[in-house]
């Protein structure tokens, strides 16, 4: 693209075509003042501060709306411009309650900066600011506070809510002096369509919108921003923890437009989900069990006990008698250490992490089809997709910032196919919503592929050049007609045809899926079948086109990459490969164990059978997160020795013999790998509470106590050791990812990282078509349990809820468990909206509030699993994927009645 040359304040600069004068100036460090401009928003030219003079053109021009043209000569600080700005600012100040002395925005307020810069007088015009303290839509809200007396009516909050978040909660009501930000009919914020993302706070150029809980804890100028990676979902948003050093406390969370991958956007969890860091419930000292109670202990005593007991059990009962559960909440460095400790100190391949609970079928399934088990494309490519095929994936709630990118694609005209038993936000805005019966995905996909082949919509050249085993695969599909699929899936046949055509013809199309695909007894087969679909249509190996599992936890990609899996070492190098074992044995100074090892669901069963005696669990809570909770707890109670390394007294920790207090993401250094394989820095912002220690230090000390001395001075040393042993990470170092993360594979120090996988060639060589037969869920509705229960994540809470539920703002919005039920079913079972409903399965029974409506299809109910006092996993079925042992959280038979 040719650049455009223009002159800014006498200096010739180059700008991109389509850029505004303001953007070009900012790019060249010429700071034109602006209150209503935000690079994420459509320009409005409302604030009149960015006015500039253009030579040869009369009057002043808003630089945020004027595009650059060749030869323009722009003056950004001429006397006329400065006089106009001073005047505008003085008018703004006449409507502003100037209260900088008590304002949280002091030092971070654009109005204050510009008033100073142009020496605007506060009192030139009589002050007509809205009186202070009148009730408004944020009154009583624990997240936000709006003060119209400080509002400059720039509309940035209203526009970001509408244009970027698409929540449409805010508007500007009334006009002229009376105008102020409001919700529809002044509804309280939490009763509006607000998603509590707090984007409006970040967008506000003054102190009119603030995080209520942060008030008085530090002015903008008192706070130090620590750039780090969000600790919630796998999107890996870059955020700034605003720390008050005097208080050793995170006061608020902000982000910066332009940062990768989230462009300054955060969701409710990233913005408000940090109260847990300073929670009084944090564990602050090691605890040792004595009978029924836990007593405080010193680190020396606790570590010595852990080392001695694990050593004894290992030496007496062999490698299968102890197991380690690593944590995808923790860093790459810690996951690398966890598997190293398990293998070197524990002498066992019994190492796993939470991927077994969620995306292990993605890792296994995609590796089988393509040779690499990760998201094939990047978050930044989503906006250019033409057809999104979203199946079993509620991105706007579970991965909200990826959801924003999907919304961006829709605004740019993308087509959207959503396959989901629930009417999610995406489903409501889809061109096609296939609201199928839970657990029938493979029938649907097979029928789509059959139709695609029958109608010559596939890509024979791609199949011939890049894939293998097509014929057997094709033969299998013949059993799957559109009409039979319509019957099995409970949907209209026409919908399947249209979806097949739309996906096959998209240029480009891309598949997104999450746990609606993986958490089935056929989870791995579901994943493999999505791989089949992409290869059939040649919709993979290109920009904006591929198969994209959105990873659930902040570092579940990294946990897997680091080899916290029984069968692989870091970088998915197979334990079974003797050369690999030799390489690691040389580096680590001990033989790599060869026992088969298992997954967390195996560990629980082996605890029951007595094979497993010692279990080391860190940053995970299987007693809360695994299906059939009562049974899990009973199994864990049989363990001889259970160690929990935790930040809170989790349900599992309550059963432990030793508890080691550890640190959260804000208290240590390291890296997370996000869902698009981007390795990003995690930075220490505050000191840990009490005696809590970083997980990487604890792991080293445990290994040492077990007789395998380990010591590092800093997580960077661990990373370098790992990178030297892991080809896909070999080119990555802390120095290279200081500003922006790198996407693996990144095999060399000068390699730029990889935006999308499988270009020209699949990682395994040829893409392998799989023959997939439809298998129904393990448990189906019957007379006693007539409904299908699915579980999932909500926008507001994260997994077991022990972090997000400590946020006052989030708790106010989503305080308790609920069950979604179709209104026809509600009538049938005698339930009205908000009734307490009793939900019962063959495994347990709990009570939750009924949300009656059309969000779920008839015959199904849906529940989140965040609420310990009404724990949904008491209900779920411990039936597992045949390959990865991932549980079928998405389908079990249930009944419901009024409680």
């Amino acid at each position: 693209m040719t650049t455009i040359k223009l002159t800014l304040n006498g200096r010739e600069v180059e700008a991109q075509p389509g850029q505004t004068i303001l953007q070009a100036a900012l790019d060249h460090n010429i700071d034109i003042p602006h209150l209503c401009h935000d690079p994420r928003l459509v320009p409005t030219g409302a604030c009149r501060l960015c006015l500039v003079e253009i030579k040869g053109q009369s009057g002043l021009h808003t630089s945020c709306t004027r595009l650059v043209e060749p030869g323009l000569a722009v003056e950004t600080e001429s006397p006329a411009v400065r006089a106009s700005r001073k005047n505008t600012l003085e008018l703004l100040l006449s409507e502003h309650r100037v209260a900088c002395t008590t304002c949280d925005a002091d030092g971070g307020c654009l109005l204050q900066d510009y008033a100073y810069r142009y020496q605007a007088a506060e009192s030139r015009f009589p002050n007509v600011a809205t009186p202070e303290g009148r009730p408004n839509y944020t009154s009583g809200n624990k997240g936000l506070e709006y003060d119209p007396s400080k509002c400059v009516r720039c509309h940035r909050c209203v526009r970001i809510c509408a244009e970027v978040v698409c929540a449409e909660a805010l508007t500007m009501k009334q006009r002229a002096l009376k105008s102020e930000v409001a919700t529809a009919f002044d509804l309280p914020l939490n009763d509006s369509t607000c998603e509590l993302c707090g984007q409006c706070i970040d967008a506000c150029p003054t102190g009119a919108l603030v995080a209520r809980a942060a008030k008085g804890l530090g002015r903008a100028k008192d706070l130090e921003k620590v750039r780090t990676t969000c600790t919630y979902c796998g999107v890996g948003c870059q955020m700034d923890l605003n720390v008050n050093r005097k208080l050793n406390r995170i006061v608020r969370v902000t982000s910066e437009p332009g940062c990768i991958p989230n462009d300054g956007n955060l969701c409710v969890k990233g913005r408000f989900g940090f109260d847990f860091v300073t929670s009084p419930e944090r564990l602050t000292t090691p605890l040792i069990r004595e009978g029924d109670r836990l007593r405080e202990a010193s680190w020396d005593e606790a570590l010595a006990l852990v080392g001695r007991r694990l050593r004894e059990i290992r030496d007496t009962h062999g490698p299968d008698s102890l197991a380690f559960l690593s944590s995808c909440r923790c860093t790459n460095e810690e996951n690398y250490l966890a598997q190293k400790v398990a293998r070197c100190a524990g002498g066992t391949n019994n190492i796993d992490q939470c991927a077994t609970t969620c995306h292990a079928p993605s890792v296994a399934g995609l590796a089988a089809v393509f040779g690499s088990g990760a998201m094939t494309n990047s978050i930044g490519e989503i906006k250019n997709i033409q057809t999104l095929f979203v199946i079993g994936c509620n991105a706007t709630e579970a991965h909200p910032i990826v959801g924003l990118e999907m919304k961006k694609a829709l605004r740019r005209g993308a087509k959207l196919i959503v396959v989901d038993p629930r009417k999610t936000w995406l489903a409501q805005h889809a061109d096609l919503h296939i609201q199928h019966r839970p657990g029938t995905d493979n029938f649907l996909i097979n029928a789509m592929m059959n139709y695609i082949i029958e109608n010559n919509l596939h890509d024979p050249a791609f199949i011939a050049d890049r894939c293998e085993q097509f014929d057997a695969y094709r033969e299998n599909l013949k059993e799957y007609s559109i009409d039979r699929a319509a019957e099995v899936c409970g949907i209209s046949p026409d919908l399947i045809r249209r979806a097949a055509e739309m996906y096959a013809k998209g240029t480009p199309s891309s598949i997104f899926y999450t746990l609606g695909i993986t958490e089935h007894t056929c989870g791995t087969e579901n994943v493999q079948n999505l791989g089949n679909l992409a290869m059939l249509c040649g919709q993979i190996g290109k920009e904006s086109s591929g198969v994209n599992p959105l990873r659930g936890q902040n570092n579940v990609q990294g946990g897997c990459d680091m080899g916290a899996i029984h069968s692989v070492l870091p970088g998915y190098q197979k334990v079974a490969d003797e050369a690999v074992r030799k390489k690691f044995a040389q580096a680590w100074g001990v033989e790599i164990p060869t026992n088969k090892g298992g997954r967390v669901t195996d560990f629980i069963e082996q605890a029951d059978s007595g094979l497993l005696r010692a279990f080391y669990c860190f940053g995970e809570d299987p007693a809360m997160s695994e299906p059939n909770q009562d049974h899990v707890v009973a199994c864990l109670k049989k363990l001889e020795f259970l160690v929990c390394q935790e930040i809170f007294m989790s349900e599992t920790a309550k059963l432990a013999h030793v508890i080691l207090p550890s640190t959260c993401f804000a208290e240590k250094d390291g890296t997370f790998s996000n869902t698009e394989r981007r390795v990003q820095r995690v930075r220490k912002a505050v000191d840990p509470p009490g005696l809590a220690r970083p997980d990487w230090q604890i792991l080293c000390q445990v290994a040492t106590a077990m007789g395998y001395p380990l010591h590092y001075n800093h997580p960077g040393e661990i990373f370098d050791e790992m990178a030297a042993l892991t080809p896909s990470y070999a080119g990555i170092s802390y120095a290279r990812i200081d500003q922006v993360g790198l996407q693996w594979p990144c095999p060399a120090k000068d390699h730029p990282g990889t935006r999308y996988l499988h270009e020209g060639r699949f990682t395994r060589g040829r893409g392998l078509f799989h023959v997939i037969k439809f298998r129904p869920p393990a448990e189906n509705p019957d007379r006693d349990y007539p409904l299908i229960l699915s579980t999932g994540r909500t926008l507001y809470h994260y997994n077991i809820g022990n972090m997000t539920r400590k946020s006052g703002a989030i708790d106010q919005k989503e305080p308790a468990n609920f069950v979604e039920i179709n209104s026809a079913d509600a009538a049938k079972f005698g339930l009205a909206a908000d009734d307490n409903a009793r939900i019962t399965t063959r495994r347990g029974s709990i009570v939750a509030a009924a949300r009656v409506g059309e969000r779920v299809r008839q015959g199904t109910i849906w529940m989140p699993f965040h609420f310990v006092e009404s724990s949904t996993n008491l209900l779920t079925n411990d039936a597992f994927d045949n390959i990865t042992r991932t549980a079928e959280y998405k389908c079990c038979a249930a009944r419901i009645e009024k409680a």
Binding site: C161, A162, E168, A169, T171, K173, R175, A182, A184, F185
Partner: protein, 157 residues
């Protein structure tokens, strides 16, 4: 809010049907027709309309509060419009307005508690030769004085 306390929905449904498809570009005609049907814009009716049409409630509310022609509360049986245009101002409309306000004991934009009168100020009624002028419903009253207000308004039931 329960549906039972709501104004009847049928007129709104007819408005939606007449205007279909109700896009964002038609928010103003939508609100005009709703106000025609109900005399004002009842909150529950508007919220139900936005639910059915998919329009953002916030944006509809923003439009409804921006234009003075829309009212979110029931108006009086009679509307008093006080002209505050230049000609009327010069001829003493400020005092006339004050007299109307004190006679009805309401402010600009408000309605008397008995729902008899609503009061609006307007920039010009286009009848400057009658200045200062007020209008009650469709009737003009020219050369008004503060003292003449009571007689004019008392004639309305």
């Amino acid at each position: 809010m329960s549906v039972s306390t709501m104004a009847p929905l049928e007129p709104a449904l007819k408005v939606i049907a007449d205007l279909a498809p109700v896009t964002e570009g038609r928010i103003i005609p939508l609100l005009q027709k709703l106000q025609e049907a109900y005399g004002y814009l009842p909150r529950d009716v508007v919220l139900e309309v936005v639910r059915r049409t998919g329009l953002p409630a916030s944006r509809v509310f923003g439009v409804a509060t921006f234009y003075s022609q829309f009212r979110l509360t029931p108006g009086g049986r009679h509307t008093v419009r006080c002209c505050r245009g230049t000609a009327c101002h010069v001829r003493g409309s400020k005092a006339v307005l004050s007299a109307v306000k004190s006679h009805l004991a309401i402010d600009d934009g408000e309605t008397t508690p008995d729902l008899k009168f609503s009061l609006e100020t307007v920039a010009c009624l286009g009848t400057c030769f009658l200045a200062p002028v007020i209008m009650v419903d469709n009737d003009y009253f020219g050369s008004m004085t503060p003292g003449g207000i009571k007689k004019v308004l008392d004639a309305y039931q």
